[in-house]
């Protein structure tokens, strides 16, 4: 599979990542190098394929993740660029959303 400039633009859009046009060619080359390299997994015979892997010994079951209060040393207002009345503030929803 070969990755082209339009593929990089598409993936960058999915990842919400601005990629300058002048970097595209270099990224196309590097991403193809990586994807070509990982494609060697195709050599694994299909009949040897098994279920997906979970880390840890087979006998270990994960506990339920029960969220509880965790004391914070400073409030969210001190972390966020803009915060008011319990909300993180962002610029208004614009035309890009429909693009």
């Amino acid at each position: 599979m070969s990755i082209g400039r339009d593929d990089v633009r598409h993936v960058a859009k999915l990842a919400e990542l601005a990629v300058p046009e002048e970097e595209l060619e270099r990224l196309v080359s590097q991403l193809n190098r990586i994807v070509d390299y990982v494609a060697q997994l195709d050599r694994l015979p299909a009949e040897r394929m098994v279920d997906a892997f979970l880390p840890g010994p087979a006998s270990v079951a994960l506990r339920e993740d029960v969220p509880g209060p965790v004391p914070l040393a400073r409030p969210p207002a001190e972390l966020a660029p803009e915060f008011a009345e319990g909300f993180f503030l962002v610029p208004r929803h614009g035309a890009m959303e429909d693009a």
């Binding site: 990842a15 991403l31 997994l41 394929m49 506990r63 962002v90 035309a95």
Partner: protein, 468 residues
């Protein structure tokens, strides 16, 4: 470092010693945040403890992707420049409860993505023995500080070998525990099914004491396993009765001659100590690097979605001026080239039409890699022995143009992360003046035996001696 600092003596004196040592090691660029004021406060805190614990007065540096409330946590990324966490990692709290002095945050590859620290937004760390070479990565700052004698132990993190590889390059001990042994609460997430807070020590005993102090279940991390904390093992009188496997895939014909010679010497010492060495095969380890470079970027793409300029970190606003322009500009300008590359690869392999071809296949390959280890240990092997890295430390700039060449620096270490097993790197000699590490891999939760065997081996191997 003075004897007081080495042994863990009075906190205040140790804090002053470490401050002097950090100033003298500034040229390494190994530290991103430290202050004498915090060191002194930590020293005073330890001095005031009624029962300082197993790490009394031991100064421990912490990789800057492990959060603390007193200092910034940047992950060596512009996107977190100035960020200070509202909570402290469980591992750091436990070290402090045991009497450790924690007041220096170390340099790393941005978000722990790299094998040389050359992807740090604040410049690479210099190798303590040769400034033109890299210390390894991603936890290169922690490795360099221990190797330079500034601290006897430091925390790093592993996703694909990021402690064992720099430990090998710098000539120190590096231990990656079983997945679930140490809480990940407060470790900035990269690949959540792989990440493990791990330890550097000047000796096996330093690393063992630190690992023991921070191990054990944590209600704040549901993936920690309900087992008692690890105990610090004593060295064994010898290695009689142990069976150690030599996986042929980890001893290729083109292995660096200095590494090969060091491994031959290790095998000789192991035989002399009475253990049996047996050649084995782990056929799917050949697929570890390609598997890792699908699984890890996929998890990273999801984990790093949270850096969007909304909740924390600096914000950039793109030309369109709306909130999605904030996302794109903040992320595009805040992340460095390697992190951007991995987010793009991860998003690509998870995207519609490619998921099964890449991600599903990588998950299946991961199971085969882990099964090779399981069958090896089920057959009666106690440990596996391999080189930690295919070469000693490489020169800065040597691999930055080709991402795959950089990835291959981790070829002997990342199968362990994919399998979740514990493993360590032990310094076993030098080749042309550069350290060489040997890797021992153990079954799940076999850390105590692993560290006991390594301590036994450590006593009979001249780690600073040139091998030929």
């Amino acid at each position: 470092m003075t004897a007081a600092a080495e042994q863990g003596g009075r906190g205040a004196a140790t804090a002053r010693d470490v401050g002097r040592a950090l100033r003298s090691a500034e040229s390494l660029n190994a530290v991103l945040h430290w202050s004498q004021e915090l060191l002194d406060a930590e020293g005073a805190r330890v001095d005031a403890m009624a029962a300082p614990g197993s790490l009394a007065g031991m100064p421990i540096a912490v990789k800057d992707n492990i959060v603390t409330v007193e200092q910034p946590t940047t992950c060596a990324s512009r996107i977190l420049e100035g960020y200070v966490s509202p909570y402290t990692a469980t591992a750091v709290n436990r070290l402090r409860d045991a009497g450790a002095i924690v007041a220096a945050k170390t340099n790393l590859d941005e978000f722990a993505m790299g094998s040389s620290t050359e992807h740090s937004a604040w410049g690479r760390v210099k190798h303590p023995l040769d400034p033109d070479r890299v210390p390894g990565g991603s936890s290169g700052g922690s490795a360099a500080l221990v190797a330079a004698g500034v601290v006897p132990a430091a925390l790093g993190s592993e996703t694909g070998g990021s402690v064992r590889q720099p430990a090998s390059f710098c000539g120190v001990v590096g231990v990656k525990p079983s997945y679930g042994r140490v809480s990940r609460y407060g470790l900035v997430a990269f690949g959540s099914s792989l990440d493990a807070i791990s330890v550097f020590g000047r000796t096996v005993d330093h690393a063992s004491r630190v690992l023991a102090a921070m191990s054990g279940p944590d209600p704040l991390d549901a993936t920690t396993v309900d087992r008692p904390p690890m105990r610090v093992p004593e060295p064994l009188p010898d290695l009689r009765g142990l069976r150690i496997g030599l996986p042929q895939e980890y001893f290729p014909d083109d292995l660096h001659p200095g590494v090969a010679a060091a491994m031959e010497r290790v095998k000789d010492r192991i035989r002399e100590l009475g253990a049996e060495l047996r050649e084995v095969s782990l056929p799917h380890s050949a697929y570890a690097v390609p598997t890792y470079y699908i699984v890890a970027p996929a998890e990273a793409a999801a984990n790093l979605a949270r850096y969007d300029g909304v909740r924390y970190g600096p914000r950039k606003v793109g030309p369109e001026g709306d909130f999605r322009a904030v996302y794109r500009a903040t992320r595009g300008e805040g992340f460095g080239p390697e992190v951007r590359r991995r987010i793009l690869v991860g998003t690509y392999v998870l995207s519609a039409g490619y998921y099964d071809a890449y991600y599903t296949k990588a998950q299946q390959a991961r199971a085969l890699i882990a099964d090779d280890f399981r069958r090896g240990f089920d057959s009666g092997l106690d440990f596996l022995l391999t080189p930690t890295t295919p070469t000693p430390a490489f020169r800065a700039g040597e691999k930055t143009e080709d991402p795959v060449a950089m990835y291959l620096a981790d070829i002997f270490v990342c199968a362990v992360n994919l399998s979740g097993l514990p493993a360590l790197s032990l310094p076993v000699g030098r080749s042309e003046g550069l350290p060489v590490g040997a890797q021992l891999i153990a079954p799940f939760f076999g850390e105590e035996r692993l560290l006991a065997a390594a301590a036994t081996l450590e006593r009979v191997i001249a780690a600073d001696a040139e091998v030929r």
